[in-house]
Structure formats: structure tokens, C-alpha cells
């Protein structure tokens, strides 16, 4: 009986609110007689009986919620905002609750994160950042007075095989001896990251917390805990703390190797700046050290130091630039007259635009990896300008849609206008008027949109309809 009651209740949601109470009253009464009629063990009969409530309720939907009113309901300002909110929620759920956004907004998981910076070679073009020759690290480690430490890093795709033989494609990094010590990273399991602590363990790897939880099932590390990386067995000697990440959250396995093993390679370089040392001072010192040691090194004058925090957050600057460009473009091309909007209209316009821009930003961060596109610095030269284009196109799309949507809304109730009608003679522009008329389904007014905008007519014209027109819009 309870299930049957629940089905009737659920079906009642389809019935228009005005008729729901009486509909429920009849169905509950009928359910009572059906339950008396059916034997106690025949609950299937009651379920079948009450499932008919859905067909009955659908009849009400067909009869009362006709196409026009449904369209009007779906186009109401509340539904519009609810739809955009649903898009944002979907982005959040699909991305696993915005991991990239959260890591950008939260403090970086290093000791004195403001002093951690990456060094790159701006190369021939300032628009790109390329890695630096690893042999410079040793020079800077020994000679620099403004930089407390310098370490090399490099990552590539690898194949990891766990203890039961499952293979997975992971991003594996090679870092020089004191990389984790320089960052001030902490471990959540296994060995700590002290100075020169990992030099004695060439066959050890450190894994990220998500990798440990997922692939290694979060089991406590023992001296026997091992895994295969690119076919070679390594002992898993440490697990990074849960929120640790460096430039890319996708790096799962870290191998600490001697600096000498990077000889001849171009790598990313991370440095810890001394207290109160500016990036400009450090850049000048590293340039002069490099030139003194080997004046023949190409492009030494273009060494650039960027704090990791600013590189991480540069995505905001990228988005801001794209938004500014999009705003100027749309403002120049659209006919939106902000001053003629009502307060409610302006509020709706601003709210939906901001919500959609937030959706573009979040989708850009979470799904196109725009954050580390900006951070990878030379790892992929194609993607950084691509992310800026993505933001630009997204922002322009949002602003154009938002303006167009606002123009097609009733100036009174802010619902989308309907009953689109072509009027006038398309060729008669001088003494006549041709265009499209849209009407508010509630009868608040009409919008006249001319086919061709000229100097002697308004781009669009709103005509308010008074109460004498209401009889035309009453629904039977």
C-alpha cells in the first residue's frame, strides 16, 4: 500500500498545482477501495492500479500545459538562471568538484611559496617559454648569492604496473636530488624529504597521494612495496601529502635522480629565491653568472624567473584579457541600450552574464587544462595561445548570447518573447517598415525589430500593451 501511495504522490507532481489537491483526493479514495478489493498478498495489483495515475496525470499535462505556456514557463528568467546554474553544477560534477580551480585558489603546498620560482629561457619569441640547459643548475647552485637553491625537473608519459600486473599510463617526473627539500614538500607516508636524503636510493620512487590511494590501494608502505615503471622495478619509498602538486596535478610518480643524469638535456628549473630578493635581481644575477661562465651561451640575456604562484594565477590575467577584448568587440557590434533597462532587467542581464562567464572560466580550467597550459612553460608551445583563444571565443559567445537573449525578453516580466511574426514589405524601406514582431505571451507588450537598421528608424522598438489588450492573452 505504501508503494502504491508513493506512486500516486509522484504522479501528482505532473498535475497542475491548481488541480492537484482534488486529483489526489480522488486517487487516494480510489486507492482505498482498490486496497479493500485486493487481497493482502496481492500488492502487485495495487502497484498496477496506482501506476495508472501517471497516465491520468499526463492527461492533465496535455490538457492544461499547452505548448505556448510550457515555452513561456521554460523561458522565464528564473528558469534561465536555473539552467545556467545547472550547467555550472554539471561542470563541477563532471570535473570531480573543480580540482584545478581549488588548487589555484588555495595556497600552494610549499614552504614560503612566494619564494619558489621557475626559470625559463624566453628564447627567440617572448610569447613562448622553453626549458634551460641543465648544466647551468650546478653553476647557479654553487655561485648564486640571491638564489638559495636550484633544482631540475622533467616529466614524460610512462607506463606504471602495480603489484597485481595492472598497467596504466601515468605522467612520471624526474627531479634532481633536493627538489622536494627545496620546495619544502611534506610526505604523508614513508620517508621525509630532507637534504640529500634521496641520493642514496637510486631505485626509489615517490608517488602522489591520488596514485597511492587509487593504484596502490592506500596500503601502508613496507620495504617490499614496489612497482614497475617503464618495465623497471622501483621501490615505493614515499607518498607525497594529499594536496601536493607542482605545475601539473597529473604527475603520479616522481623519481629522484642525481643532477648529473640531466647532463646535456634541457629541463625545467625551479629555484628558491633568498628572502626579500626580487625576480628582477635574481634574473640579473643568473644572467651575469651565466655570461661570466660562458659568454658564448646563446640567449642568456633572456633568462626569465617567474614565481610559481604568479604562473599558476596568470590564468586569471589570461581570462581577464580575453574578457576585455570580448567586451569591447561585443559592445561595438551590439545594440544593447543598458540605460533603458529596468533595474530587474539589468540585474538579470548582469547575473546571467556573470554566471555564464564563470561557467566558461571553470570549463576552461577543468576541461582544457588551461591552468597548467599556462604553467607548463615550454612543455607544449601550441597549447598556451590556444587557451587564450578558447577564453576569448568563450567570452565573446557568452556576451553575444547574453545581449541577444536580453533583447528578446519582455521589458516587464522578462520572459522570452514569442509568437514571432514577419510583418511589412521587405523591399519598402523608405516610407514603410519591414521587420519582425515578437509578443509577450503574458500580453505586456510587443517588440518590433526592423530588418534593416537605418539612421531614420530605431534599431528596435518596444510597444507596451495596456489592460484593454488582456482579453487577447487570456488562456481558456
Amino acid at each position: 500500500m505504501k508503494r502504491a501511495w508513493f506512486l500516486v504522490r509522484a504522479a501528482s507532481l505532473l498535475v497542475p498545482a491548481a488541480q492537484r489537491a482534488e486529483w489526489l483526493r480522488e486517487w487516494f479514495a480510489e486507492l482505498h477501495y482498490a486496497s479493500i478489493h485486493s487481497s493482502s498478498e496481492n500488492s502487485l495489483f495495487l502497484i498496477r492500479f496506482s501506476s495508472g495515475a501517471f497516465q491520468d496525470a499526463l492527461w492533465y499535462c496535455r490538457g492544461v500545459w499547452n505548448r505556448d505556456t510550457m515555452a513561456a514557463k521554460m523561458q522565464s528568467p528564473g528558469r534561465c538562471l536555473a539552467g545556467i546554474a545547472a550547467v555550472i553544477l554539471s561542470i563541477a560534477v563532471l570535473s570531480g568538484f573543480l580540482p584545478v580551480t581549488r588548487s589555484i585558489l588555495m595556497p600552494l603546498p610549499y614552504r614560503d611559496p612566494g619564494r619558489i620560482a621557475t626559470v625559463s629561457d624566453a628564447g627567440a619569441s617572448l610569447a613562448t617559454r622553453v626549458p634551460i640547459r641543465a648544466d647551468l643548475v650546478r653553476l647557479w647552485q654553487s655561485k648564486s648569492k640571491l638564489v638559495e637553491g636550484a633544482e631540475a625537473y622533467l616529466w614524460k608519459e610512462s607506463i606504471a604496473t602495480d603489484s597485481i600486473g595492472r598497467r596504466s599510463r601515468v605522467l612520471g617526473a624526474r627531479v634532481s636530488d633536493n627538489f622536494f627539500f627545496l620546495l619544502g614538500a611534506r610526505s604523508s607516508e614513508g620517508r621525509l624529504f630532507g637534504r640529500n636524503q634521496w641520493a642514496s636510493c637510486p631505485d626509489c620512487v615517490i608517488v602522489s597521494y591520488p596514485f597511492w590511494k587509487g593504484t596502490l590501494n592506500g596500503k601502508r608502505l613496507t620495504p617490499e612495496t614496489s612497482m614497475l615503471l617503464d618495465g623497471r622495478r622501483y621501490r615505493v619509498a614515499g607518498v607525497l601529502e594529499k594536496n601536493f602538486w607542482f605545475l601539473s596535478r597529473e604527475i603520479s610518480v616522481w623519481r629522484v635522480v642525481p643532477l648529473a643524469s640531466f647532463e646535456g638535456e634541457r629541463t625545467g628549473i625551479v629555484v628558491r629565491l633568498g628572502p626579500d630578493v626580487t625576480t628582477r635581481e635574481a634574473e640579473n644575477e643568473l644572467r651575469s653568472l651565466t655570461q661570466k661562465a660562458n659568454g658564448g651561451i646563446r640567449d642568456t640575456g633572456l633568462i626569465r624567473i617567474a614565481p610559481v604562484a604568479s604562473r599558476v594565477r596568470s590564468v586569471f590575467g589570461s581570462f581577464g584579457l580575453a574578457l576585455s577584448l570580448a567586451f569591447v568587440t561585443v559592445l561595438a557590434s551590439s545594440r544593447l541600450r543598458v540605460c533603458r533597462m529596468s533595474f530587474r532587467g539589468a540585474l538579470l542581464f548582469v547575473t546571467k552574464t556573470l554566471m555564464l562567464l564563470a561557467a566558461v572560466f571553470l570549463a576552461g580550467l577543468e576541461f582544457t587544462h588551461a591552468a597548467w597550459i599556462n604553467m607548463l612553460g615550454g612543455a607544449d608551445l601550441l597549447t598556451e595561445p590556444l587557451s587564450t583563444w578558447l577564453f576569448l571565443l568563450g567570452c565573446m559567445g557568452v556576451l553575444l548570447w547574453s545581449v541577444r537573449d536580453q533583447q528578446g525578453r519582455c521589458r516587464v516580466c522578462l520572459s522570452r518573447l514569442g509568437l514571432r511574426m514577419r510583418v511589412g514589405c521587405p523591399g519598402c524601406m523608405l516610407l514603410d517598415w519591414a521587420g519582425t514582431e515578437l509578443v509577450c505571451v503574458e500580453g505586456h507588450g510587443m517588440l518590433h525589430v526592423p530588418d534593416v537598421v537605418s539612421s531614420w528608424n530605431k534599431p528596435d522598438h518596444w510597444t507596451s500593451l495596456d489592460d484593454s489588450w488582456q482579453a487577447l492573452f487570456e488562456r481558456g
Partner: protein
């Protein structure tokens, strides 16, 4: 308008059942053997066409018998006229045992 209403066999059967003295939804279901998903929407449609009329039973009477009040349906004049025409259209309906004993 009455002449224009062409009922389906099922609707005509339900109309005949109501005319035969089966007055509320579950009762009609029992008499016709039709499922609830057919009977109740058909009742709405017949009422919309003004062939039947519904009224709620008095609460006091239902309370005295310790049961919920029923919604009763009865034929209107138009309904009786339409039923007559439907009987001609569906001759088998005449052979069904109509009235409640």
C-alpha cells in the same frame, strides 16, 4: 455539437457502464475490466466533453461509513444522447449486461 461526438469503443463502454449505475472510478474499472490508466483519463475526457458530470459524495455520509468520500460520475443529457448514438455505432454494446443489479 452532440451529433459530432464520435466516441471510441472504450469511451462508449465506459459511458454505458456509468449509465448502468457504476458510478465511481474503481467501480467502473471492475465492471469493464479496463486498467486504471485507461479508465481515469477517459473519465476526464468524457467530463470535458460534458457527457458526464462529477460530484463529490457528502463527507458526512462517507465518515459515517468510515471510508473516504467518493467522486461520483453520472451521465448528462448530452451523454445519454451520445450513448444512444454510440450503441448504434457499436451494436455489440447492446448485448453487454448494462444495468447494475
Amino acid at each position: 455539437m452532440s451529433g459530432d461526438i464520435n466516441l471510441t469503443h472504450t469511451s462508449a463502454l465506459i459511458l454505458q457502464t456509468i449509465g448502468g449505475g457504476y458510478l465511481y472510478g474503481f467501480d467502473i474499472m471492475e465492471a469493464t475490466g479496463l486498467p486504471s490508466g485507461t479508465v481515469y483519463p477517459a473519465l476526464r475526457r468524457l467530463e470535458q466533453l460534458a457527457l458526464i458530470q462529477s460530484r463529490w459524495e457528502k463527507e458526512s455520509k462517507a465518515l459515517a461509513e468510515q471510508r473516504p468520500a467518493r467522486k461520483y460520475y453520472k451521465l448528462t443529457a448530452l451523454g445519454e444522447k451520445t450513448l444512444g448514438k454510440s450503441m448504434q455505432r457499436y451494436p455489440l454494446l447492446k448485448h453487454l449486461k448494462g444495468a447494475r443489479s
